[in-house]
């Protein structure tokens, strides 16, 4: 157990918290130790993180007057919006530099004597959670705050995998970059997550793997069998129903005793390996979408701009993204025209689609577009592989219809809400490390484990499992460096 009195007594100190080692619990213990008085400021990265810490504090009966919690970005935004004199210069919420502008402004502000006085009179100290996720700019802001308040940070360099557009991430292992924030470092040493779930051996195995990853040693994954279930097979072998991994996956999908199952694919740059998986496994798992996935915005934009047959073609392109092309090809020709059908039932269906299309061509409206998308998805034998993308698109179309905004605007509004509340991820899902970071699943199956090229991603992948971990790999030695 880390010595929290010591952690809090230093002006600058750090706790390294491996995944599942009770980081949020540690924050709660810290607040227990603090006296009532000026608030302790807690900064984290996501609104979901804020919500989860608040919930934990409430459960731990922490006096809410002891702390204030916010995301780093919102904290900076409050100051930037209040203090930046030329309001016209403040970027709009949808602009790419929205948050960076706020943080840059806040850095300037926190270097002035009056703001130092305000911060000092408002807070006793600063705790920063998930420090490995700080961008270099956010890190600069924390350094500015470290001139005003005692700073205690929690994080794990091995989980620093967030990917931000055009932003670099703080390197927690660099003394030069950390400028003393890491001078009093302790490491949490109890794998609470696995101890609680009775999977002590899994926890110990992960702890050993962590040590190997930190030292850059190749990992003979088979050494950890059976605490970790290892299946050695050719790449993508799990797609073949004859292979044992395919059977193992089906077993977990059909296991009603587990609450949550996650399939992890190492490739995050393309969604197709995951779509393929969903198709092969009969749509029994759900795709976890990234709220920043460009598909959301590209198609919103198309729907705003295009008209006539071009618009119909874009809607069909969208349909092909979320459902099997073969079904769509049965009903539409290559030019996006509805095929003539013979059977009376089919004629009813195609006539219905034709009516909607005519309406769109005559008078385009977000509602008509939504009707057509729903009509296509409901075609006989059709499936939707990307339920979330479809749901969000329909939501945006309905919002645009109701509020009169563009579809693109509505999609962004929706995104901002999601950013705030976080996506609800439950049940059986497929995703990537970036999309599931910080989450916990009963059973995790890592696909194509040999494809990981970054130790941090591999570590995050393996540590998502709280009860059972299955690793499918082409090689028995993983060398993700």
């Amino acid at each position: 157990m880390a010595n929290l009195e010591e952690f809090l007594s230093k002006d600058k100190s750090m706790i390294i918290a491996p995944a599942g080692y009770g980081k949020t619990h540690t924050i709660m213990e810290c607040l227990h130790l603090l006296e009532v008085g000026k608030k302790c400021l807690i900064l984290t990265h996501t609104h979901a993180g804020v919500a989860s810490i608040k919930e934990k504090m409430q459960k731990g009966s922490i006096n809410p007057g002891k702390f204030a919690i916010d995301t780093i970005s919102s904290f900076a935004l409050r100051y930037s919006n209040a203090f930046h004199v030329n309001k016209a210069e403040i970027p709009k919420a949808e602009d790419n530099d929205y948050f960076n502008f706020a943080i840059e402004t806040a850095i300037k502000l926190f270097r002035t004597q009056p703001l130092k006085a305000v911060i000092k009179s408002s807070y006793s100290k600063l705790l920063v959670d998930e420090y490995q996720d700080c961008t270099s700019l956010q890190h600069k802001m924390v350094l500015a705050l470290s001139d005003i308040l005692p700073i205690h940070i929690l994080g794990d360099p091995l989980q620093g995998i967030f990917e931000f557009r055009n932003n670099t991430i703080v390197n927690m292992e660099s003394d030069e970059e950390m400028q003393g924030l890491n001078q009093n470092t302790q490491t949490l040493d109890t794998p609470w997550r696995w101890n609680q779930h009775g999977s002590i051996e899994l926890g110990q195995s992960l702890s050993q793997i962590r040590a190997l990853l930190l030292s850059g040693t190749p990992i003979t994954i088979t050494d950890f069998h059976p605490h970790i279930n290892i299946i050695i097979e050719v790449e993508n072998g799990y797609l073949d129903p004859n292979n044992s991994s395919n059977k193992a996956i089906w077993r977990e999908i059909n296991n009603r005793k587990i609450d949550s199952l996650l399939l992890l694919h190492p490739i995050s740059t393309s969604v197709y390996p995951r779509i393929t998986f969903i198709q092969r496994f009969n749509n029994t798992v759900r795709l976890i979408e990234s709220i920043d996935d460009k598909d959301f915005y590209i198609f919103s934009n198309h729907f705003d701009i295009q008209v006539g047959q071009n618009l119909i073609n874009k809607i069909l392109d969208f349909a092909k993204k979320i459902s099997p092309k073969t079904v769509i090809a049965q009903w539409f020709n290559d030019n996006g025209q509805i095929k003539n059908k013979r059977s009376p039932q089919d004629k009813v269906v195609s006539q219905k689609l034709r009516d909607i299309i005519d309406l769109i061509i005559q008078q385009k409206s977000p509602k008509n577009i939504a009707d057509l998308i729903n009509g296509i998805i409901q075609l006989p034998n059709n499936k939707c592989y990307r339920a979330e993308l479809k749901k969000d698109m329909i939501k945006a179309l309905e919002l645009a219809h109701a509020e009169g905004d563009t579809i693109y605007e509505s999609m962004k509004k929706n995104r901002d809400i999601l950013r705030r509340v976080g996506r609800n991820i439950k049940g059986r899902c497929i995703g990537t490390t970036l999309l599931t970071k910080g989450l916990e699943f009963d059973v995790v199956i890592v696909l194509n484990a040999h494809l990981f090229t970054n130790p941090k991603h591999l570590y995050v992948a393996l540590t998502r499992a709280s009860k059972k971990l299955i690793v499918i790999s082409q090689n028995s030695i993983l060398n993700p460096y």
């Binding site: 004199v85 300037k108 002035t112 004597q113 009056p114 006085a117 305000v118 408002s122």
Partner: protein
């Protein structure tokens, strides 16, 4: 302790626009009646008032124009921590030169001091609204009366009676809390409650005996009616003896302090305020000399100059107050001025010796004692001629202190006093500075070039008057006629025979000899001497030739006085 750094007033009573920075310590605001001194104090009192409501009237608006709202803004530094945290998003900076900074990203903000601006707005609905504001385009937020109370402003006025009761929010209550062993927020009502419970028990015991017979009778009848009553007794209903701390007030033996004399009440109220060691706040005292003898007010001000943990604003019409203060503490309010004027340090000595000048409209800077005396004589002469006297015209006389007179005349002029200089012309480099004064619009009434006032008089006056001048000289301290004669002729080549009436016949050489020696020996360099020679001049002023400089000098001075 909170410090008022800047005060801005718009459309409040006699002030249309006002903007003034202050330092901490003593701030004595002087000025003629109706110039707006008390309005400034009242504005500070209102904008930082701990009352949650206040009554306003149409007459509180400048020129009663209710269309333009009243706006009073107080920019405060040394803000209590809790309030700074609460209103932190509105923090502004004070640069080293005292200017207020809103752009906290600017370079000058780096070393600035933190400040908050509280604004009181009253629109024509007469509802006051207190907000914290910045000039960065932020929507102002309301500031509660409780937070304003933390700025700790107290006003020592004629209505300080409430200062003697233990009311919440009063300085006395604050002091009570500070001195209680446990000064946290718990159990505010407990002190009184415990006392009341004890009291009730004692009253009840004595009541019980007195009403015993009645109660027994009631019980008897009740039993007959079939009511079985046990334990009925007479006692006082709790709610009828509920006394809050605000009913507790200070007494001198049996007499409540609120019935004491005005001066004593004001001093006691100030004493309570000053006893609150830390944090202390802003104290406002209108007309500090009220109800106090000159020596007591002088003593009070001397004490206040040593108070270090309060910012004390006061107004005065008393010279006794001004002599105790340094120019740094003195601020002059001129009607319709947009800010207060500082008294330049050059005027320090002058203000100490002529404090009443500061209450005037126009000032005659006199070169020295002789000139002051002459002006007094001029004033007496005006009164005998039924002309309005100098005091009535708001004209004061100031001793220029010889060579300092140029700077003093400039100083008073810069403060907005219409100023003139009455002096002679015997020092060359001073003569050149006179031009400078005239360019500033300061009238200079002086002698012919090279002449001292004595030389000018002996050259210009009738021989009758000269005889009176010498006679007066001979009277002073019983001067011996012969030695005066000798000193007059000591510089001359031809000394005539001495006779008792050596000066009785007109003689041109004698005029110049008398001029030189009276100047050299300082015959008339006292105010009382000046007053006599002035009388000699003005009693026969009409017969003085218009081409004489003396005639011109004082005619011009008279018309300046009347202008």
């Amino acid at each position: 302790m909170a410090i008022l750094h800047n005060l801005r007033i718009k459309n409040f009573r006699g002030i249309q626009n006002f903007d003034q920075n202050f330092d901490d310590g003593l701030i004595c605001i002087i000025g003629r009646g109706d110039s707006g001194k008390s309005t400034i104090l009242e504005a500070i009192n209102l904008v930082l008032s701990s009352s949650w409501t206040m009554s306003f009237y149409d007459s509180d608006f400048y020129n009663c124009q209710t269309e333009t709202p009243i706006e009073i803004e107080a920019t405060i530094t040394n803000i209590p921590e809790k309030q700074l945290a609460k209103y932190g998003m509105f923090v502004r900076g004070i640069a080293a030169n005292g200017s207020i900074i809103d752009d906290m990203e600017s370079e000058e903000a780096n070393e600035a001091k933190e400040a908050l601006t509280i604004r009181l707005t009253v629109t024509k609905d007469l509802e006051p609204m207190w907000t914290v504001v910045s000039y960065r385009g932020q929507e102002p937020v309301t500031i509660t009366a409780a937070d304003r109370a933390k700025m700790n402003v107290s006003s020592i006025s004629d209505y300080t009676d409430r200062h003697f009761s233990l009311n919440k929010g009063n300085p006395l209550y604050t002091l009570f809390k500070l001195l209680s062993e446990d000064n946290t927020d718990v159990d505010e009502g407990n002190v009184m409650l415990e006392i009341l419970r004890e009291t009730k028990t004692r009253i009840d015991n004595s009541i019980a005996n007195k009403f015993e017979n009645v109660i027994n009778k009631v019980i008897e009848t009740a039993v007959q009616l079939g009511v079985n009553t046990v334990g009925i007794k007479a006692s006082i209903d709790h709610r009828d003896i509920s006394i809050k701390e605000n009913k507790v007030c200070l007494h001198e033996s049996e007499i409540p302090l609120r019935l004491k004399g005005k001066g004593a009440r004001r001093l006691l109220s100030l004493a309570i305020q000053l006893s609150i060691a830390n944090p202390n706040g802003i104290i406002l005292i209108d007309e500090i000399e009220q109800g106090l003898e000159p020596d007591r007010v002088q003593h009070l001000v001397a004490i206040l100059t040593k108070v270090t943990n309060s910012q004390i604003f006061f107004t005065t019409h008393s010279r006794n107050v001004i002599v105790e203060l340094s120019c740094n503490n003195l601020f002059l309010m001129i009607k319709d001025a947009q800010n207060l004027s500082n008294i330049p340090l050059d005027l320090q000595g002058c203000v100490r010796s002529n404090p009443e000048a500061l209450f005037m409209k126009k000032i005659i800077v006199c070169e020295g004692a002789t000139e002051i005396g002459i002006c007094r004589a001029l004033n007496n002469n005006r009164q005998s001629l039924k002309k309005i006297n100098l005091a009535c015209l708001g004209i004061g006389l100031v001793d220029g202190g010889g060579e300092n007179m140029i700077e003093r005349a400039k100083g008073f002029n810069s403060l907005g006093y219409a100023s003139c200089l009455l002096c002679d012309s015997d020092v060359v480099n001073i003569n050149t500075s006179k031009e400078e004064l005239r360019e500033l619009g300061i009238s200079v009434f002086d002698c012919d070039n090279g002449n001292s006032i004595e030389q000018q008089l002996f050259a210009d006056l009738s021989w009758e008057q000269i005889i009176q001048l010498v006679d007066y000289r001979l009277q002073i301290d019983g001067f011996d006629n012969q030695s005066v004669f000798q000193s007059v002729y000591s510089q001359q080549q031809n000394t005539p025979e001495f006779s008792e009436d050596w000066y009785k016949t007109e003689n041109k050489e004698l005029r110049s000899a008398l001029g030189s020696v009276s100047k050299k020996n300082g015959w008339y360099k006292r105010i009382d001497h000046g007053e006599i020679i002035g009388k000699i001049i003005f009693d026969d002023f009409n017969n003085l030739d218009v081409d004489k400089k003396t005639k011109q000098m004082f005619e011009q001075l008279s018309s300046w006085i009347d202008s």
